[in-house]
């Protein structure tokens, strides 16, 4: 009897060995769900922060909804104060003012709406060749990173947050309806 007992008895831990399987399984479920939940919350919080920052930048740029010229645009860009995010702000023409001849460098010059992956930034002097060092000086564009270091937006993909707003730009004494495009992404 005693021998039989000893044969079946694997020790205090050994006897509870089958119960360890559901216990370990439960712990795996718990910790994986917890990690997934935390990651998901972090990711969503970052998205919300990016969205709110985008709206915040757009509010600064929209100001009273009327940009009086290039200097005013640069002044508004200078008021943007965002940390931890990269951004691009640009003015894009509506079809009301779009002139195909100003976009000769593009493969398809026709108006194609606002495509953030192919931004056709408005240039108030498209026919004047800007010098190479300051080549985009007359374009209505600003960013918190140098132009030479700007990544291709298509590579940033899902981390992008963008918003488009209508705005009036006074250019050549015409109040032109334009689109203000704000794009933000996490570095």
């Amino acid at each position: 009897m005693l021998e039989k007992k000893r044969k079946g008895f694997l020790g205090p831990i050994g006897d509870d060995l089958p119960s360890l399987v559901p216990l370990v399984f439960a712990l795996i479920i718990f910790f994986s769900t917890f990690t997934y939940a935390m990651n998901s919350m972090d990711s969503r919080n970052e998205d919300f922060d990016a969205d709110l920052a985008t709206l915040g930048i757009a509010r600064i740029m929209r100001s009273n909804g009327y940009i009086t010229g290039y200097e005013d645009f640069r002044r508004l860009c200078g008021n943007i104060n965002v940390s931890g995010l990269n951004y691009e702000v640009a003015l894009v023409e509506t079809e009301l003012t779009y002139d195909e001849s100003n976009y000769a460098g593009y493969e398809d010059q026709r108006f194609s709406g606002v495509d953030i992956l192919d931004l056709r930034i408005f240039d108030s002097t498209p026919n004047i060749k800007d010098d190479e060092e300051d080549r985009k000086a007359s374009e209505f564009f600003c960013s918190n990173i140098p132009i030479s270091e700007l990544p291709e937006l298509i590579e940033i993909g899902q981390r992008l947050s963008s918003r488009v707003f209508p705005i009036v730009l006074e250019d050549a004494k015409i109040a032109k309806p334009m689109f203000l495009v704000v794009i933000t992404w996490r570095p």
Binding site: V21, L23, Y36, A37, N45, L55, Y66, L96, P166
Partner: protein, 263 residues
């Protein structure tokens, strides 16, 4: 021996209960995570809608338009331009004084093309309404000097489900002249009824002063009015809810047709 066996069963039962509790907790955590941020996301969308509406209204009213119909702002030959609001005021001031005090068909077309261009980034996902409305409730003239409705429709019949089959969705622009058959105010049967049906609408309103010139001898009469834009995520409204837009009280016509709006 019996005692040892019982101990083993108790331990595995405890472990199974533990697994059950953890599974329930994990399910709750999943449900919580799926719901997490929905309200913030809705609030961000609402905020974007409101900001867009207010920007759009300013841009529509303060943007320039060519004085002559048919010309484009982008054309170098365009000689005369003016603010759109100024053009609206001038057009309304000299509108026919026959009870049809609405903007002229040319002005309505100009306004339509401007609004469509400005609302283009949202026109696939949002429906919108732009109107110029007299707030002095005239009995002898139209309440609405202008009303544009951009609305989504579904070519296929939608039953209980609200989803329109892919490729069946359409967007149409209507120019409307809301008026009830009884001659009473059409606001409640049109705007108020529509507002009740649409979710999460964002609105921007601006008071404007129009004027009316009865004849060259008298001084212009001031007409208090409101210009407003309202936008909402596109929904397929059923005809039994809104009525037929072509008939009273909406009296709309398809803005893409040449005969619309009627003079």
């Amino acid at each position: 021996m019996r005692k040892l066996n019982s101990k083993g069963q108790a331990a595995i039962t405890d472990a199974l209960f533990f697994l059950l509790i953890v599974s329930a907790l994990a399910t709750l955590l999943f449900l919580f995570i799926n719901q997490y941020g929905i309200m913030v996301s809705d609030e961000v969308k609402r905020s974007y809608g409101t900001d867009y509406a207010s920007s759009a209204l300013k841009t529509i009213l303060y943007g320039s338009v060519p004085r002559n119909a048919g010309e484009k702002l982008a054309d170098a030959e365009t000689q005369e331009i003016d603010y759109l609001l100024a053009a609206i005021k001038e057009d309304y001031a000299y509108a026919k004084d026959d009870g049809k005090q609405r903007l002229s068909p040319e002005m309505q077309k100009t306004l339509h093309s401007n609004i469509s261009a400005i609302m283009k980034p949202l026109s696939e996902q949002f429906d919108y309404l732009f109107y110029v409305y007299r707030i002095d409730s005239p009995s002898d003239a139209d309440e609405f000097a202008y009303l544009l409705l951009h609305i989504s429709g579904c070519k296929a019949e939608i039953s209980s489900s609200e989803f329109c089959p892919e490729g069946e969705g359409i967007h149409a622009d209507y120019l409307c002249n809301p008026k009830t058959l009884s001659g009473q105010s059409a606001v409640s049967s049109t705007l108020d009824a529509l507002t009740m049906l649409i979710p999460n609408s964002a609105q921007s309103v601006s008071s404007i002063l129009l004027s009316k010139v009865a004849d060259s001898a008298s001084s212009p009469k001031t007409v208090p009015a409101r210009a407003a834009i309202m936008l909402w995520p596109a929904v397929y409204l059923k005809q039994n809810e809104t009525g037929d837009f072509a008939s009273a009280p909406w009296n709309c016509c398809d803005a893409s047709k040449t005969y619309c709006p009627a003079g």
